[in-house]
């Protein structure tokens, strides 16, 4: 991978001394979110790791107003704050619901779907660490197939695939939907800033590695995030109005084995199960590629080095299709 040169907004709004574990993806996400949006931002946090990370009373690391709310109410509370600010003539402040995967994929899903359907004017960030990490690593519907959690022990790891939240939200035809990764802060910040300038419901799904939950060393968070992208486990993309799909970064297509083997949560998996994961990832990728408009396959939110041509991906996927059909 080549050296990427980019400039992050220099101001650190997130204070040091927060309560995150080392290598926490969710904390990097908050850091970049605040860099992208600045201080005219309100963050709504439901029950999740960030209920703790921001700090106990009377401390708050976020540097912007934070409203802690009930587990399933990130979207509905954010919606109320936005309406309240608007009703008092404040049309400037950005309201952000900042929730984990449990609060987004599971218990908060109804409120999220309602807000998306109503196209409420706020931004929803899901920092997805693929399980209930704050309560001690229990499976969520975002936990991938084969993963160990405390409720899916190694003897019977998770038997179901991860819920495809991106497709569910695309089906709501929201104006802006993107995936982002802590491995690419420039991409994440560009997407958050783009979302900032769009009116209506905006959703950014952030891949957020969790060293204690996934069982890897904290210094490998970024590496694992990159491998998730390169192996097509977590494609970086944008979807406009639920139909216009753009790929932000073309994956190298590395085998999922490398990604899987780095994490203790998959340690119990045999070759056959890893093969099963590979097949699922390939199939999901093909389904995604079919949705990309041919000339729009690769679209980096900020015009940086456009690497390979989109048609390569299309050609690849078509040849694979041809081979299997």
């Amino acid at each position: 991978m080549g050296q990427i040169k980019f400039q992050l907004p220099p101001e650190e709004i997130l204070a040091p001394g927060h309560f995150a574990c080392p290598g926490c993806g969710g904390t990097l996400t908050m850091r970049y979110l605040l860099k992208a949006l600045g201080r005219k931002t309100v963050v709504v946090i439901p029950a999740c790791c960030w209920s703790v990370i921001d700090g106990p009373v009377p401390y708050s690391a976020a540097g912007v107003p934070v409203f802690h709310t009930a587990f399933e109410t990130a979207a509905s509370t954010a919606c109320g704050i936005k309406a309240g600010l608007e009703s008092q003539g404040d049309h400037e402040t950005t309201v952000v619901a900042f929730a984990g995967d449990g609060g987004t994929f599971d218990i908060g899903f109804q409120a999220l779907s309602g807000a998306a359907e109503r196209n409420e004017d706020f931004m929803y960030i899901c920092y997805d660490n693929e399980a209930y990490m704050n309560t001690g690593i229990q499976r969520s519907s975002a936990t991938p197939f084969g993963a160990w959690t405390t409720t899916t022990p190694a003897e019977s790891p998770k038997a179901e695939n991860k819920k495809n939240m991106v497709e569910i939200l695309a089906a709501h035809r929201i104006p802006y939907l993107a995936t982002a990764s802590v491995a690419y802060p420039d991409d994440m910040i560009a997407k958050i800033q783009k979302a900032h300038d769009i009116h209506g419901f905006r959703f950014i799904h952030v891949f957020s590695p969790c060293p204690p939950g996934w069982k890897f060393e904290p210094e490998d968070s970024i590496k694992i995030s990159r491998m998730a992208i390169e192996s097509k486990v977590f494609p970086l993309l944008e979807i406009f109005n639920g139909v216009d799909y753009r790929l932000s970064r073309e994956p190298a297509g590395t085998p999922v084995t490398d990604y899987i083997k780095m994490q203790g949560r998959f340690r119990h998996l045999g070759e056959k199960q890893i093969e099963q994961i590979q097949t699922y990832v390939d199939e999901e990728w093909e389904r995604l590629v079919r949705k990309l408009a041919p000339e729009q396959h690769l679209h980096q939110p900020e015009s940086r080095v456009a690497s390979k041509a989109a048609k390569v991906i299309l050609a690849k996927s078509q040849s694979r299709k041809g081979a299997t059909s």
Binding site: P56, A62, V66, T73
Partner: protein
């Protein structure tokens, strides 16, 4: 008699100079018009029978531009309350309305609203809890929420619904606690009555724009509701408790101020009717109070020294008022339109609790009536008074009135042939 009826009569009523116009409207619409007069800024609601006409009317009012509010048509009552919490912490005046199952669904967030000390006002149309499905009145829905930190009012008339919503914002914004105003399903929600609509400028004087003492502000960033240790949680709970204690005086003051401006008073936490010289009083709440007024009038005309106490505020509970009444009567009957399984009627429980340490403790009788919309008629009330007149002490902790299994031998508790032993009240 100190039973000055606040409902449309009182010292002014429909002809008071504060009145802009008189509309013949349902209880639900009385709530909607009050929300308009209170200049609510954010409304979030989900439909449930029989609350729907509150939000339908508000939709009309907002769509026609008669109220500059954001109206969020959420996908559940849970989200409705979350939206109210969000808008209230942003500094806006928020409103929602619900009923029964919807209120139960909100339960978690009722705690959140009160714990966040947000002056949200909610109208709850009292409807029995399922199963089996019922859309008719009883009070188990709201009384199940008694420990959430919300003030609770029970309205007797459509005028009282309107007036209590206006009073509620003032009280809520003074004590920083949310308020629930309850009205009986159909008996009030869908019954049309003349309601005096006060002049907007007078309402504006009575209820100026909200001035939140704390709110979300990007210029002064703070975290609200963060994790707190055992070293401080208890103090925050004590503050909430104290705010509820303080609310009693605020309720009385606001009711007096309201009376001065609009000519209608509801007595603050309780309203007494024919109690001055009464030996036996019945305590109850909501629309059954109107029915009981008729029964009391009738029994008084027959010479029975009976009176009536309307429990208007259930939270905070009217401790002083009830102790004062208990100090001067011989028996108190409490008619609950609710039941706490494994215990008794809830207002009965609470009344017993406040009298235990009181210097005078007359015998208390707990009656349960009118569940799931079973009619409470003047006959029901008279049956209760008959029981009170015929017994020195209750035969059981709860006395169910109007159960069909017992109805074969009706009337179970006939009135005594003459007011015997009971002192005739004078002037009747």
């Amino acid at each position: 008699m100190n039973g000055k009826n606040g409902n449309n009569s009182g010292n002014g009523g429909l002809l008071h100079p504060s009145v802009d116009k008189v509309l013949v409207i349902e209880g639900t619409h009385a709530a909607s018009y009050a929300v308009k007069l209170a200049r609510v800024q954010v409304i979030a609601a989900y439909p449930i029978t029989p609350q729907t006409s509150v939000v339908e009317k508000l939709s009309e009012i907002v769509s026609q531009g008669d109220l500059a509010a954001k109206f969020i048509k959420v996908e559940s009552e849970h989200s409705a309350m979350a939206c109210c919490i969000g808008s209230s912490i942003s500094g806006a005046r928020a409103f929602t309305a619900t009923s029964s199952q919807g209120l139960a669904l909100m339960h978690e967030l009722l705690h959140w609203a009160a714990g966040s000390r947000l002056p949200i006002v909610m109208v709850n149309v009292n409807r029995a809890m399922a199963p089996p499905w019922s859309i008719y009145v009883d009070h188990n829905d709201s009384l199940s929420q008694r420990d959430t930190g919300w003030l609770q009012f029970y309205a007797e008339s459509n005028q009282e619904v309107m007036d209590t919503v206006l009073q509620a914002y003032k009280i809520a914004e003074t004590v920083s606690l949310p308020i629930m105003i309850n009205l009986d399903a159909f008996v009030l929600s869908h019954t049309s009555e003349p309601v005096a609509i006060p002049k907007q400028e007078l309402v504006d004087e009575f209820l100026p724009a909200r001035k939140p003492s704390f709110r979300i502000d990007t210029a002064d960033p703070k975290a609200f509701g963060a994790l707190i240790g055992p070293d401080a949680y208890m103090e925050m709970r004590y503050k909430l408790y104290s705010a509820m204690e303080d609310a009693r005086a605020v309720i009385r003051d606001v009711d007096s101020e309201f009376a001065e401006k609009f000519g209608r008073s509801y007595g603050g936490l309780v309203e007494e009717y024919c109690t001055e010289d009464a030996e036996i009083v019945l305590m109850t709440s909501a629309t059954a109070v109107s029915t009981a007024r008729i029964a009391v009038d009738e029994l008084r005309s027959m010479g029975f020294p009976v009176g009536l106490v309307k429990v208007r505020a259930f939270r905070p509970f009217p401790v002083d008022e009830i102790r004062a009444i208990a100090g001067r009567v011989k028996k108190i009957g409490i008619m609950d339109r609710n039941v706490s399984f494994g215990a008794t009627g809830i207002i009965y429980q609470e009344t017993k609790a406040v009298l235990y340490n009181a210097p005078v403790r007359p015998p208390l009788f707990g009656f349960i009536a009118g569940l799931g919309g079973r009619d409470i008629t003047p006959e029901t009330i008279k049956e209760i008074f008959s029981y009170l007149l015929n017994h020195d002490e209750p035969e059981s902790e709860t006395i169910w009135i109007g159960l069909k299994s017992k109805s074969a031998k009706q009337p179970e508790h006939p009135l005594p042939q003459n007011p015997g032993g009971q002192k005739k009240s004078e002037g009747v």
